[in-house]
Symmetry: D2
Subunit: 342 residues, 4 copies
């Protein structure tokens, strides 16, 4: 069976990444693509790298006939997404890539995103889309909320450690290095090649980054108590990739064992041998996440390093994995592409 797919917000990077992945998916057909300002254009004009594909023209959202769509990906900006999804048919399966349905608590949403949520009822219904930890809910879910790309990386490193009780919950530091595509196709001075290439800087330091809302929600729920991590992201002169260096207090061997045990059966989550250090280059363009663990000369400390591609495993790959689950397709379909190196 072939499922008919719509992608709303197809003119951004996550939208284009969805098209790239679905292009070789044997059970999905792209039936509609929307892009508000670029409605009327061919996808090939917006993204010439997709010109070999036979794709529908970009349209406005209200031109899409959702009665003929089996699943809709929403790759719209935050805040817009909740408004659009509120108007879609209530029986349409939706995988949302925005931040709008990640947080369960409306107060937390308002705290991190600076405005009240406009679709509180849907927020309750939504399932948090960190695939490996919410499989059952995603299979049964109708509205799947994609996670933040940084939030996914940090959670892959930390959830098994919190669950296994092998680290001090009051002293977790996530120092994160991110490629620029995570910022989207937005026109900002600091995203220009002339300003970004050849250097690095930190941003949203000091506990201001919005993905902290996800860390707080998920880690506290998992631990059964409030957990607050310290999180400092840095922007790197590279297009794809996130590397999270996570500093924890606990026995390094126990940390490594907890990760190996948790991910032994996972296709995409690969725990390296103890002491091996991962590289973002080794997962670029793929749905894989590599995780390495090492100790420190100071006893009782461990460093966990997780890498993934923010556009694939961190957003569009995750979204496709979740779409497979909710449509009853084998979970890894369309996602077995090897990384691109060099």
């Amino acid at each position: 069976m072939t499922f008919r797919i719509a992608i709303l917000g197809a003119s951004g990077y996550t939208g284009a990444e969805l098209v790239r992945l679905i292009a070789t998916h044997p059970q999905m057909e792209i039936a509609a693509l929307s892009a508000d300002r670029k409605a009327g254009m061919e996808m090939a004009a917006v993204f010439p790298f997709l010109r070999h594909l036979d794709l529908p023209k970009l349209v406005k959202i209200d031109e899409v006939d959702f009665s003929r769509i089996d699943l809709c990906f929403c790759a719209l900006p935050h805040a817009t997404s909740q408004e659009v999804i509120a108007k879609l048919p209530r029986d349409l399966k939706i995988v949302d890539l925005s931040a709008d349905f990640r947080l369960r608590d409306p107060a937390e949403y308002q705290k991190w995103y600076g405005q009240p949520h406009a679709a509180v009822e849907l927020q309750k219904e939504a399932v948090y889309g960190l695939t490996e930890f919410y499989r059952d809910e995603i299979r049964k879910g109708r509205l799947i909320a994609g996670t933040g790309c940084n939030a996914a990386t940090g959670q892959y490193a930390l959830r098994p450690l919190i669950a296994a009780g092998v680290i001090d919950l009051d002293d977790i530091v996530i120092d994160l290095k991110a490629g620029v595509s995570g910022a989207g196709r937005s026109l900002k001075e600091n995203l220009l090649h002339a300003e970004l290439s050849g250097g690095t800087h930190s941003y949203s330091a000091g506990g201001k980054h919005r993905h902290l809302g996800e860390f707080d929600q998920e880690f506290s729920k998992l631990a059964g108590r409030e957990v607050r991590v310290q999180f400092t992201p840095h922007l790197l002169p590279m297009n794809r990739g996130i590397l999270a260096t996570v500093y924890v207090k606990g026995d390094p061997a126990a940390v490594h064992r907890a990760l190996e045990a948790a991910y032994a059966q996972e296709t995409f989550l690969q725990v390296l041998p103890f002491g091996a250090l991962p590289s973002t280059r080794d997962v670029a363009g793929s749905n894989y996440c590599h995780i390495g663990v090492t100790g420190d000369r100071i006893p009782g400390r461990a460093v966990v390093i997780a890498v993934l591609d923010n556009l694939t495993k961190g957003s569009s790959g995750q979204a496709l994995q979740n779409a497979n689950l909710t449509l009853g397709i084998e979970e890894t379909t369309g996602l077995m592409l090897a990384p691109l190196f060099p």
Copy 2:
């Protein structure tokens, strides 16, 4: 049916690219991988980006049981390749990625490569692997010689123009811009990130680049007279991609028409609308070649710009396309991956 594949020289970039592509090929199985100096290592240790694959360990060439191999890719250095292939079984299908069997004439080989050919008999048997122009020969061939990556790019831009007689054969300039992976995984100062990034320079200028041997052979054969092009390559601070800017004298509209007509049925060779200019980014990691044509304010001149990924369409993708043909598999199998952008 699944064909059993060997890759000799699997520790270089073209070898790894072959593995990447074959990883999702439904009718091929990697049965042997060789790498002389790294024999005994796991492929995952040499190329961690391939660690999710279940691959045979790297061995020395003489450890490979060729009786159980259906097709062998040779991704060995120039000169080594001819020695190795001379010792392989005479009924083994071989796709060679080196320069050793590209030139028909032993004298030309010696002129460009500085030494006599060590397997002249095989040289005669070899088929030139520019797929779209040698399909029948490749289908029937046993030893397919992969083309130079620059040579492929220039030929895709020029062959239809020479065949159609729409350009002046005595005044062709190919100004080529190439990414660094074409130089292989070799330890040279000028290939270091600190030396290469952030700048550009020309190399082998003045008619010294070895791929001229292929241009001479192919263009002269096609034209039925001697054709000598001017060719200046430049090294760019990027990993993948070749852009050839080809200056010709002829009617731009006729040039465009000749290319459109020649490639109308080709899956991988895409001629852009007149005036549209291609980008290497739009073919990265894929087997596509985009070709654009524009005129000039000076009447009677045209510029043809062709782009491809040197590791894919320029070498390993081409090799796989040829392997498909010679094994009787549908030509595009395993090659329909969309480019990676950004």
Copy 3:
């Protein structure tokens, strides 16, 4: 004596580059900096790399007291520049970095820039600022028009050849590779790091680039007949640097001799030994231009390759060199900085 300097348009890259260079100039003091939209800000907030300098706050142009200024650099956008300069005191020395006063003929200006010139009288008065060829005029001039960065590169390669009569004037091809800072600090999708890094493409191909107006004017004047070159620029994933590969018909040795003779006494124009090929990396951040010459296997053809830093020798360094001349300061003052490598 210390001269008081104003820089109009100080929030762009050429403005900032002027500040960088003047920072170590022993006879200049920055007395005023303007930036329309950023008026009121500290320069350190706009360009933190200049925070160690004691600089005047950014103001609007009409807040500058020009009676206390000895020389004014205009680093304003094209078209704006002519309007602003028309209102400045008629005895103020001005070095303009825009395109507004490069072309002598108002018809040519209108042809290339798409609108009539708004200060035709000033246009007549302006001196073309290609320092090494207009020294006397610049020394005596009041309004110096900085050249296009591409136009400068091409002229350094070609002027001595045209003057010496050693090349065919009807068959000149300039294939140019440019870094992205030449496009300024403008917010365009194709200038984003995610879109530009890792690839290359051509732009304004086919005789459409505005710097052709300068080539036409200067080469025709020099040759005493109409000269029309073919010019194709490419955008490269690097911040600074231009490399012009110039294809000419003529004796390579004569070409090299003509360049060596012309530049023997020039501090900043360095002709490499015959056959040596220059790199943009070797001039980054400096006022030097390196020029290499090689022949081709086809007799009677030569390739001249010139490299310079578009922000230094191609614009702000040239502007400072011209300012030195017109103020009676030693020409190289403040410009002897070595390039930055790696």
Copy 4:
């Protein structure tokens, strides 16, 4: 007065950076350049970006007439440096850029560098070259040991905090991001452009990096008790620059005040306003170090971020600053170059 300078090991990046800086130094003259394997070559052949300078030819060390040298920079590899310096005249002023004389304790040297020190007497005599903290010793010193570039960055962030007693000494994490030129001009696969660009990874994680020896020595001495920091370096796809993100426990305002107070009179150490975050781009090619401080949402935690250029302030710029001091020249001479941006 002009001092006659020798640079041993002039064919590496720190050697070339010394030449770049001294090129505009009004009181120094480069009298000798050595490079063992490249002896006999012109510096312009090894580093074409220096071709405009009139430099002595590269020679072997024993060809240098040290009786005519006022100060000698040693930019030799670790271990080689101690052997060479042991043979130099005992009254020659030496600024060493290697690791050989950084550690006071021979046992510590052996622990971190894996072999006994071959010049223990000289080791005692050496002065640790962190200029701002050892000015008096450097002025009087004969043998100045340049610090590690990472070690300098971390110390600029931390020394005032340790001295002021405003942080918990038992819980300091330094997460460091470094450009590739710090690895020198060495031919290693992971330093190739094809392998390094576009991604990031950690190295020497887990307390294995040799610069920890300097942290241990200096922080413990300063605190009057043993201090052990946790230190994880990462390699970034950029040529120059180090960014150290330092996680400390203490009052953020007190941390900021301690840094401001300590560096109020320092030309090159610039403390940003509280909350401002530095970028490596803003110090590239210069001797400046920018330091930012922010708090965290978790009370009692602060993040200190320090950036510098590893080749300038991190090695050759520091070396020149120290040379100025020991020669009695004004400390900032030749070092006031503005950074290069973009």
